[in-house]
Symmetry: C2
Subunit: 213 residues, 2 copies
């Protein structure tokens, strides 16, 4: 009998089933089920026999994304370990995911042996990180904290409007502010985000998931 059970959460069904096939080929692991998003997972988990040892979780999903789902799982099923699985190399996403309670973070371009190792280490020690991810973590901690640029809600609102091909005048109307105040938002953000113009703002927003295309 195989020792440990795995659930897979991934929105692309073929990938989900392919990873399931791979995990099933590992000696000590057994895929309990796969699901398409966080919402589906949470429904499944309500049945006690559906609680796996480890959840392999994609980060970018519609309906309920990996970060939100991981947070809920950590609170309601603290004994279940979540390993994030993502193509995303974005530092902030990784940190968000780990903060949400993920015990590991694997990039989709690792070897299958690393996946197996990660699963083994996670059942044995409770966590596993590849060197890449560890380095990102160390950097993020060493970067004297101030590293994280914190945007205010109102600023994010402004950025989203900027990404929507609106002029500042239009944004001012939409946000019930004077065009001059909007000027201030923009000037601040240019400095804060080290960009030269609106284009830079849009690129920053897309890169950091503020604006989705």
């Amino acid at each position: 009998m195989k020792a440990h059970t795995i659930a897979i959460v991934e929105d692309h069904i073929l990938l989900s089933q392919a990873i399931a096939s791979l995990v099933d080929s590992f000696k000590d692991f057994n895929v309990l089920y796969t699901c398409k998003n966080g919402k589906e997972l949470l429904t499944k988990l309500k049945t006690p026999s559906n609680i796996p040892d480890i959840i392999l979780m994609d980060v970018n999903m519609p309906i309920l994304n990996g970060i939100e789902t991981t947070e809920i799982v950590k609170n309601e099923y603290p004994e279940v370990k979540v390993i994030a699985l993502s193509v995303e190399e974005n530092d902030t996403t990784i940190i968000k995911m780990l903060k949400a309670g993920a015990k590991g973070y694997l990039l989709k371009d690792v070897e299958k042996d690393i996946l197996e190792l990660a699963l083994l280490e996670t059942v044995k020690h409770g966590y596993y990180h590849t060197k890449d991810v560890s380095n990102i973590l160390i950097n993020s901690l060493n970067s004297d904290d101030s590293g994280k640029i914190q945007l205010k809600d109102r600023e994010i609102e402004f950025i989203i409007h900027t990404c929507s091909e609106m002029t500042y005048k239009e944004i001012a109307e939409k946000m019930f502010l004077s065009p001059k105040t909007i000027d201030g938002y923009r000037d601040n953000l240019f400095q804060k985000l080290h960009v030269k113009n609106r284009i830079g703002l849009v690129l920053y927003a897309i890169k950091n998931g503020i604006y989705k295309i």
Copy 2:
């Protein structure tokens, strides 16, 4: 003995190995090898024993992408059938891939049974398409052809510069053109792509893979 050999071309190793595991579980198929990009595939193919019946090819890859690779494979190894495998639902990409010579196009959110069916049908009839892709094809043919917006090389160059936070003056210098010509490019593109300003241009470029972030 399994009847048909498959090669997998996909830049994310874990996915590549996962799909390999899945394909190996199919009764009539056998994965010959996997590779990380088009260049690696072309090197492999030089050894006659490495020529598979079907190549499962990712579309978005670094080094040599799916479209370019498929074109080369079609010309040099016409007996090999290429099936595209992609998360991309972008119509133009699909059409480009099929034009390049792909015998099928699967989205990564199909069921594994569909993948098996696609492989079977491809060896039997030479091609396979899911309904989704067929519909896209039909639409693209019915849309009185004019549907496809064709960008010129010089226009694409201009768009990429625009995405790089450059002013039009800077772009003009970079492209050895008068600022007035650049004005013309911009005005033309605004009309052609139905956008209001530079932001729209940037969004279009990112959506259509012209500019990668």
